[in-house]
Amino acid sequence: MYWQRELECMDRAELERLQLQRLVATLKRVATNVPFYRKKFQELQLNPDQLGSLEGLRDYPFTTKQDLRDNYPYGLFAVPLRDVVRVHASSGTTGSSTVVGYTRQDIVTWSDLVARILTGAGVTANDVIQIAFGYGLFTGGFGLHYGAERVGASVIPISSGNTKRQIKIMQDFKTTALVCTPSYALKMADVMMDLGVNPNGLSLRYGLFGAEPWSEAMRQEINARLGIRATDNYGLSEVMGPGVAGECQECNGLHISEDHFYIEILDPDTLEPVPPGEVGELVITTLTKEAFPVIRYRTRDLTRLMPEPCPCGRTFVRMSRMLGRSDDMLIIKGVNVFPTQIESVLFDIEGTEPHYRLVVERENNEDKLTVLVEVVESLLFDEMKKQKALIEHIKKRLASELGVGVEIKLVEERSLERFNGKADRVIDRRQL
């Protein structure tokens, strides 16, 4: 099943011609409309008109999350605000979030791209689709919503949370397709068991999961426990949101919508391309975005390409599920968390360079982040009441900075291992 067969199955040579044409147009547009890119291109004496091949893009500079933050909120928009019909922002911090915009045409494109992954996963106009992603600044809820309407499915925009209600609605509305994070799908299975709801008695057939890393073992568990076929999909708000790539029913790698995104897989240290099929950092250039184009955006996600043709007939290249990160970002309950954010809050409270460690676990299919903090004199009280109040204070400050709850565990000074050079402060115990 295809959403746009003529595009999804197009000849590779034709695809590359289309990509080059769109790439030149995008580069010209950002050079004209976005001072940030214009300045960078001028410094490197790059002229988009002279781009003769897709490989020529390697001369162009990268764009990083920091660049997006530096240009908060609208600095990288390539159209005037009057042409922007939607704004989203990345999950994570309030102070340093990254803002993205969409024109009317961008929303149409986005809806079609999400429709592709929905169709690829098996969803049709006959399905009842329950969207349990958060609606709001996060791109997940609205992204899937518009795509599902485009397909013609009956959309239940229930948003995230309230698991019992999710299950009740799933039973009563005869939901056939579920959209959420993979860990939330397992949590639903747990709650169904508690409630005595037999998943086999539901109408559920498909699950589209994303927004956090997961494994093949987790897929098997979800499939077995919910009696569905789970597919993986990938996107990030900086580039578009969901719809960048998704699995077909082969469930073996995610097809990248290459007519809209040009991708490179680079060695994160040398920033040179890795040999085909080897693991590297995914770098994306948008080819059709109007309001918020990005050039060579470093996603920091590690993956590898699967260049061999897919039995499904799509010619778009596949990439493996996300294999990790090339920085120390953590994804906790779908929220991006950087150790540096935790560091700055602790510094603020302690008044000195904090020694801490982050421990991530998955309990009952929910992520749990515990911050181990070494107790320095400024954090030590003789009264237990004050000591506990301090722990609560740190918890609150971190929760508001990170947008996700954490546990605090105080440990003795010098009990955490010291590192030379780049500190590895994260202990990820999640068995995905």
Partner: protein
């Protein structure tokens, strides 16, 4: 009138209290009184010792986090109702006790009560007015 108490942070794992007492013993530091407040994860050890500065230095040198607080030491006769009289006086003055612990001195005649009050100065004034014996640093360290 205030006595210095040291507070030490301890993770709730076996042998930590033994480690501290051994360090103090090796340095010929005498513990006059101690108490521990604890949770499932950690504890706060409070100590009255005869050589405060030296105790802090050696504990820090051994990697412990050490803080210090001022407490009040009240001496009462070691007999029934001794503590109750002190607490009633404090209660009547409307002062809260944050924590307290006690020990009996060598002669066995008197008990020493260590207090941390919410309002230290006010508590001392009240106790003195009511005629209770408040021990000085020197008196406590040389008990």
């Amino acid at each position: 009138m205030l006595v210095e108490q040291i507070a030490v942070f301890l993770e709730n794992k076996s042998g930590r209290l033994a480690d501290i007492t051994a360090i103090l013993a090796d340095n010929a530091i005498n513990i006059r009184a101690l108490s521990v407040a604890d949770t499932a994860d950690f504890g706060i050890l409070r100590l009255i010792v005869d050589k405060v500065e030296q105790a802090k230095t050696v504990l820090r040198a051994n990697g412990f986090t050490v803080g210090k607080t001022q407490v009040v030491a009240v001496e009462v006769e070691d007999r029934t109702g001794g503590l109750a009289k002190v607490l009633r006086c404090i209660k009547d003055a409307g002062i809260n006790v944050e924590y307290m612990y006690a020990f009996v001195n060598k002669t066995g005649e008197n008990a020493v009560l260590i207090f941390r009050f919410e309002k230290m100065e006010e508590a001392i004034a009240t106790l003195q007015k009511e005629g209770f014996t408040i021990l000085s640093k020197e008196q406590i360290y040389s008990l």
